[in-house]
């Protein structure tokens, strides 16, 4: 390398360094903007849900900015988000969180997609005392570590399918039931499993099949053959979209008759779209449904959110988008109550959150999880060839009656 080139490189790096230091002093709250940061999966295996999350954030930012922004100290501020692509990789997510905080000078964070990535980022935000409102990390272990700056608008994973067991017991005349379950071996699904174990203990029910599914799994014929042979009262499956799609495909192909089938990730798997009538009667856990009657002044209710979102992005919002939008509403509310940009004051305000959004009531428990919102269950019901998700539990929000037991395959067309 010759001298000129060396000089040139030194020069460039000097400029970059200067710019970097300037930009970090510019960020956070400047020019009437509150800058939030988020590492999000725009590529890699979580990219579709990552995009749902980002769309949810963006929709809320637009809406809040349009409707007067955030009022702090008598002045109105607008939201702005800096995004980085974490490539669905936890290590990368942690690096990016560090970069957002140290280089970009972000003082408030929004969560990434999935429990795994949230787990990777939480220690970083905690270290720098950066309040983070997250909408897509449901794993129970996030809320038992004593994090002080982590707030989740969604219900923790162990609550996903507990209701389903209660429902099965209720349908069984209050008597304990036989449960067959298959869960993927990842943080989220194993938390869902813990919830089932709790529910089984509480109701005195017996778990007769307890299979764990590997990450690469796309064949669960063996589990289903066992289910066929042992005839449980309820079958519970959780393995992200892959688990939901595999289960329905093979249950219908192997003609497995089980009175009740409960799952997670049905709407992310577009279950009724991909499997049509074969998915009918499946019971699915969901954080949100458009038919719920919660309201707020920014999005109106769930149905209006659904309509506006469709208009903006061209598809119906999955709950991942709805909860992401709710995260922004929580931030806005906290800033206004804190009436300051002091991080600890904002944190304390977040801690004291008690509000209703279109997505549900939000109030944070001691671990930062949302304790004010129940999970809902919907059931896939078909009319002719069009299938829809109908809310069946809890009874307060139910639009349809829970159909039980599932008719045997010999009677299904």
């Amino acid at each position: 390398m010759n001298k000129i080139a060396k000089l040139f490189i030194t020069f460039i790096s000097a400029i970059t360094l200067t710019l970097a230091s300037i930009s970090s002093s510019f960020a956070k709250v400047e020019d009437g903007y509150i800058v939030l940061g988020s590492a999000i999966s725009l590529t890699g295996k979580y990219s579709s849900n990552g995009v749902h999350t980002q769309n949810g954030y963006n929709m809320a930012v637009d809406r809040i900015n349009k409707m007067g922004g955030v009022k702090v100290g008598g002045k109105s501020y607008k939201f702005e988000i800096i995004y980085y692509d974490d490539e669905s990789n936890p290590k990368r997510a942690a690096q990016l969180a560090e970069r957002l905080i140290k280089q970009d000078g972000v003082h408030y964070m929004l969560g990434p997609y999935s429990s795994g990535l949230t787990k990777a980022i939480a220690p970083v935000t905690e270290k720098y005392k950066i309040p983070m409102v997250e909408a897509n990390g449901a794993s129970r272990s996030l809320f038992t570590k004593g994090y002080k700056y982590l707030f989740a608008v969604l219900s923790p994973a162990n609550q996903y399918l507990e209701v389903a067991i209660d429902l099965a017991v209720e349908k069984n005349g209050g008597k304990p039931v036989k449960i067959a379950q298959a869960f993927e071996q990842d943080a989220f699904s194993q938390d869902v499993r813990l919830g089932i174990l709790d529910a089984a203990k509480r109701t005195g029910s017996k778990i007769i099949i307890d299979d764990k599914l590997p990450k690469e799994l796309n064949d669960m014929a063996a589990t289903l053959a066992k289910v066929k042979a042992t005839k449980p009262d309820v079958l519970v499956v959780s393995g992200h979209t892959k688990g939901a799609l595999t289960a329905i495909r093979q249950i219908s192909e192997m003609k497995v008759d089980v009175p009740m089938l409960a799952m997670t990730h049905c709407d992310a798997a577009k279950l009724s779209k991909q499997h049509g009538k074969n998915s009918e009667y499946a019971l699915c856990a969901s954080q949100w449904h458009k038919n719920l009657s919660y309201k707020d002044k920014f999005f109106g209710g769930g149905k209006k959110y659904d309509k506006d979102f469709k208009k903006e992005f061209g598809y119906a919002p999955p709950y991942q988008s709805a909860e992401s939008s709710a995260a922004l509403l929580v931030f806005k509310d906290a800033f206004e109550r804190a009436d300051s940009f002091d991080r600890d004051k904002v944190r304390d305000a977040l801690k004291a959150t008690d509000m209703q959004t279109f997505y549900g009531n939000i109030k944070f428990g001691p671990g930062g999880q949302n304790v004010a919102k129940p999970m809902i269950l919907f059931q896939v019901r078909c009319k002719g060839d069009t299938c829809e998700n109908k809310v069946v539990a809890p009874t307060k929000w139910a639009s349809d009656k829970f159909f039980h037991p599932i008719p045997p395959w010999s009677e299904r067309g």
Partner: protein, 297 residues
């Protein structure tokens, strides 16, 4: 550990049938691998990703309203050219080199393919519906999805066709000659460069067929290629190169082994058991070889 399977004979029948039907499909993928391994001395890590790409071709047809079963004809044709292009772009540069280099190169191809598929088709898990229904045996206690029977049947048809082709056709003979001794074949006027390209194309086409079958029997996702690579690698290790009946039998054996491991050890060890078996077989082979060497001494 779960010994339910030994208490219920019907479960045993179910597991065996599932295993054999799936095994035949694995054997098809493995045969492609054995072919190009034998001819070019390349271990293709991207084998599974070629399979998944083939599956996405069938899925795309399904989305366009064409029955995905036609994928077993369309997908190999497209995949042949994908394989051929891959050879011209990358493989021809590593074909005579160290085995390690070809492993690295195909590993790189695998990553590129995964990301491309993720980019084009999205990260969602997808399935194509064949609507073939189910065959029920023994008073409904054993159920066989017709799509699995269909896939085993198609795999067999293609395998037989390929064997005949390799025996009778000019290109087939040229491929076999190159596998035996590339230099001698070259001297006798075989265009080995062409043979290599065709072999890689045929391998990719076989993957395409298998992928189309997987799209209607199992599920597709950009990142599930690796288990197929490992399975075919293992089948080839057991069966040896260029021995189709052995590949078919070891394919079915692996399918059976997987199903029984699933029942007895639990589903979480299904893929793990395959890896364990691989280690065991490699150690056993080494042990046998070292004995042979002792005789030679």
């Amino acid at each position: 550990m779960d010994f339910l399977i030994f208490q219920a004979p019907m479960l045993m029948v179910q597991a065996s049938m599932d295993g054999i039907l799936l095994g035949i499909l694995f054997a098809l993928i493995a045969y492609g691998m054995a072919l190009q391994w034998g001819v070019m001395n390349i271990i293709n890590i991207a084998q599974g990703d070629l399979v998944i790409l083939g599956g996405y071709i069938a899925y795309t047809m399904y989305l366009a309203g064409i029955h995905p079963a036609w994928g077993v004809i369309v997908s190999p044709i497209i995949m042949y050219f994908v394989g051929w292009a891959l050879y011209k772009l990358v493989i021809n540069k590593v074909v005579d080199r160290d085995l390690f280099i070809s492993i690295l190169a195909t590993f790189g191809i695998a990553i590129v393919f995964q990301q491309l598929m993720n980019f084009i088709f999205g990260a969602d898990v997808v399935v194509a519906q064949s609507g073939y229904g189910t065959t029920m045996l023994f008073d409904n206690s054993v159920t066989l999805p017709n799509s699995k029977i269909f896939s085993a049947f198609i795999s067999l048809v293609y395998a037989v066709a390929l064997v005949v082709y390799m025996k009778k056709s000019r290109l087939g003979r040229a491929i076999r000659a190159t596998a035996q001794n590339a230099r001698a074949a070259k001297i006798l006027g075989v265009d080995t460069e062409k043979v290599y390209a065709a072999t890689f194309g045929i391998n990719a086409a076989l993957c395409g067929i298998a992928g189309a079958l997987i799209s209607i029997t199992l599920t597709l996702h950009p990142y599930v290629g690796l288990p197929y690579t490992v399975r075919s690698f293992m089948i080839v290790i057991v069966a040896g190169l260029g021995n189709l009946p052995a590949v078919a039998i070891s394919g079915m054996g692996l399918g059976l082994f997987e199903e029984f491991a699933d029942y007895i050890l639990g589903t979480e060890f299904r893929i793990g058991a395959v890896f364990m078996l691989l280690v065991f077989i490699l150690v056993y082979r080494r042990f046998k070889l070292s004995k042979k060497r002792e005789y030679l001494k």
